[in-house]
């Protein structure tokens, strides 16, 4: 039996073959976008699924990554490969910033705090016309170059870039889950009080979760900006945050493969149901409600999560608060 992290290349390898058979650029472009969603879903899963802190402003970190690379590229002519870690680090710093409230604020209040943060970021990008181009956004962001090979409109190189990022992120996340940090995250989710009594540094661990999660969103944002070459604040609204959350919930909270599966399902569903495109968000809404009622642990959810999310039989619904 292979460990989870070793399965990553095996499971993702078939995806590397797709461009050899399917030359349809539209399909590849769609799959590249699904890959970006999958990166975001895996990142959000670290905070929501593993640590149990609901983040409703995740699109903000994606936006910060995209704008960091765009601004660094347009003003300082930074190449993509320098912009990628830069976008991740800037986004991570903001992640720490929004992680600090999680010490004081818990549960649904934290969710609303992150939502407020997400809106502040989006409206600020919209209003700071001098820096961000306001509602028109930033244009002419450079595409990556790889040892003299220049990326163009063709989605194939982006597809491989995203697949590579996805595989390495998944690999590292699986390693993290099986490490001391991963166990600490889950311990915080299960029972914060008990975990801190056992010597888990709760603040520290939560900040790590927020940092890792927003770093991944920053990377995804950078790739997105380099692929689109144009970014506007509209691309990073609350609907995106909820869409990514729906992916994590659908796939299974706390499950890394689940996050990827959720992104694949919800990312391709609107294209498969072309005629029903207008019903897309309605269907997402219904899925979220039905999943919470009938299968809160998601498609691939673990038994632990299942037990945790079920209504408790004996305990009073209002707890002891």
């Amino acid at each position: 039996m292979l460990s989870s992290s070793r399965k990553v290349p095996l499971i993702l390898a078939p995806f590397a073959l797709i461009p050899l058979f399917d030359k349809n650029t539209y399909h590849l472009d769609l799959l590249t976008n699904v890959g970006i969603y999958a990166l975001l879903a895996m990142g959000l899963n670290v905070v929501v699924g593993l640590t149990g802190l609901l983040n409703l402003g995740y699109a903000a970190f994606f936006a910060i990554g995209a704008y960091s690379y765009a601004l660094a590229n347009l003003h300082w002519h930074w190449p993509f490969w320098l912009g990628l870690p830069f976008a991740g680090v800037v986004s991570m710093l903001f992640g720490f910033l929004i992680g600090i409230p999680s010490i004081r604020v818990r549960g649904d209040y934290l969710a609303i705090t992150t939502l407020g943060f997400g809106e502040i970021v989006r409206i600020s990008f919209n209003n700071l016309d001098a820096w961000t181009g306001g509602p028109n956004g930033l244009l002419g962001i450079a595409r990556p170059k790889f040892f003299g090979y220049a990326f163009s409109v063709n989605p194939t190189p982006y597809y491989y870039l995203v697949l590579l990022l996805l595989a390495s992120t998944a690999f590292l996340l699986f390693r993290m889950c099986n490490s001391k940090i991963g166990r600490a995250l889950v311990a915080i989710r299960e029972d914060e009080l008990a975990a801190s009594c056992m010597g888990v540094p709760a603040l520290h661990v939560k900040l790590v979760a927020f940092g890792v999660s927003s770093f991944i969103a920053g990377l995804a944002g950078c790739v997105f900006a380099a692929k689109q070459t144009i970014i506007t604040p509209d691309s990073f609204d609350f609907v995106l945050s909820v869409l990514i959350l729906a992916m994590v919930v659908l796939g299974g909270l706390g499950n890394i493969w689940g996050a990827m599966l959720g992104a694949l399902v919800l990312g391709t569903l609107p294209e498969l149901l072309r005629g029903f495109a207008v019903y897309r968000m309605l269907i997402f809404g219904v899925i979220m409600i039905l999943m919470m009622i009938f299968r809160p642990q998601g498609i691939l959810g673990s038994q632990i999560i299942r037990r945790e999310l079920r209504p408790k039989e004996k305990e009073a619904p209002h707890g002891s608060s």
Partner: protein, 305 residues
């Protein structure tokens, strides 16, 4: 009157008008939170649906072509919107929240977000994604009080909102349903042991809260003259801010919080920049949740470990 004073009074009035609407929505948030400890994320969308119901009611009146006087039309529009939304509120509770009672709060919050998407997109499919024009049913009267203009609709918002709040206060304090609501908010198990039907109380809470939000939505649409299916999101978040501001769970808190938030926003728009007024409102929300989550009147501490 000096121009500074004029600007001040005009912004105060504009802020009060919008603040009354925030207060009407905030009441629903605070009542539901007080009883279920649930952030009813779909509540802002009930507000939006209320506006669309009013639009439909106006359409019905126009189609029937009855010779109703203006006050009759207004009364019909208000009652149609409020009762429609009250039914919707009961339905939302039944389908999205009741099966999850006793689940962790995050589960219920995700379900509530799902419900918000369902409502927005249903309205979008029924009425189209374009902005709808709200026909004027009130005469466009304006009074000029030495430089400060007060429109008839602004006056009506103030009067209607204040009377609804007085009515709600009496309802909660004097009626048996109101007493049952307070009992369930205090301690649901003890209340049910005393013969209070918790399910019924929750249902009536959703009815009253949704009716008030729909009234807010109707007045909002009449004031701005247009409606959009995603108006509910921003208004909902702001009303939630107002509810937290006043102390979530507290009814007078929600009223005062709503009015203060509206006035705060009016002054931000008048003196600083209307582009940034939403950032100030969200900034206030984040700051409140961080530093004073119990609000000005609240004694409900959000979550203890």
């Amino acid at each position: 009157m000096s121009p500074q004073l004029q600007l001040f009074l005009q912004q105060l009035l504009n802020g009060l008008t919008i603040g009354m609407i925030y207060a009407l929505i905030a009441l629903g948030y605070t009542m539901v939170y007080g009883i279920l400890q649930l952030i009813n994320f779909a509540h802002g969308d009930v507000f939006m649906v209320g506006g669309y119901l009013a639009l439909t009611a106006i359409g019905i009146v126009a189609a029937l072509g009855t010779g109703l006087p203006v006050w009759g039309v207004i009364l019909f529009v208000f009652l149609f919107s409020m009762s429609g939304a009250a039914l919707l509120g009961v339905g939302i509770e039944r389908f999205a929240y009741r099966p999850l009672r006793g689940s962790p709060r995050l589960t219920a919050l995700i379900s509530a977000i799902g419900m918000s998407f369902v409502l927005q997109n249903t309205v979008m499919l029924l009425y189209g994604s374009k902005e709808q024009i709200m026909p004027d049913i009130l005469p466009q009267w304006q009074i000029d009080l030495s430089g400060v203009t007060v429109s008839l609709i602004q006056g009506m918002i103030l009067v209607t909102a204040v009377s609804l709040m007085i009515f709600l206060n009496l309802f909660v304090k004097k009626t048996s349903t109101g007493r049952a609501m307070r009992a369930v908010a205090e301690n649901p198990e003890a209340a049910s042991l005393m013969g209070v039907s918790v399910d019924r109380v929750i249902r009536s809470t959703f009815m009253v809260g949704s009716g008030l939000a729909a009234m807010g939505g109707t007045l909002f649409a009449m004031n701005y003259g247009s409606l959009n299916f995603h108006d509910g999101y921003l208004a909902g978040i702001k009303a939630f801010t107002a509810a937290v501001f006043g102390g979530i769970g507290s009814i007078p808190g929600a009223m005062i919080g709503g009015i203060l938030l509206g006035v705060f926003e009016g002054f931000c728009a008048g003196y600083i920049s209307s582009e940034w007024k939403d950032v100030f409102a969200f900034g206030l929300l984040v700051a409140l949740l961080l530093f004073r989550p119990s609000g000005i009147f609240g004694d409900n501490v959000p979550e203890k470990v």
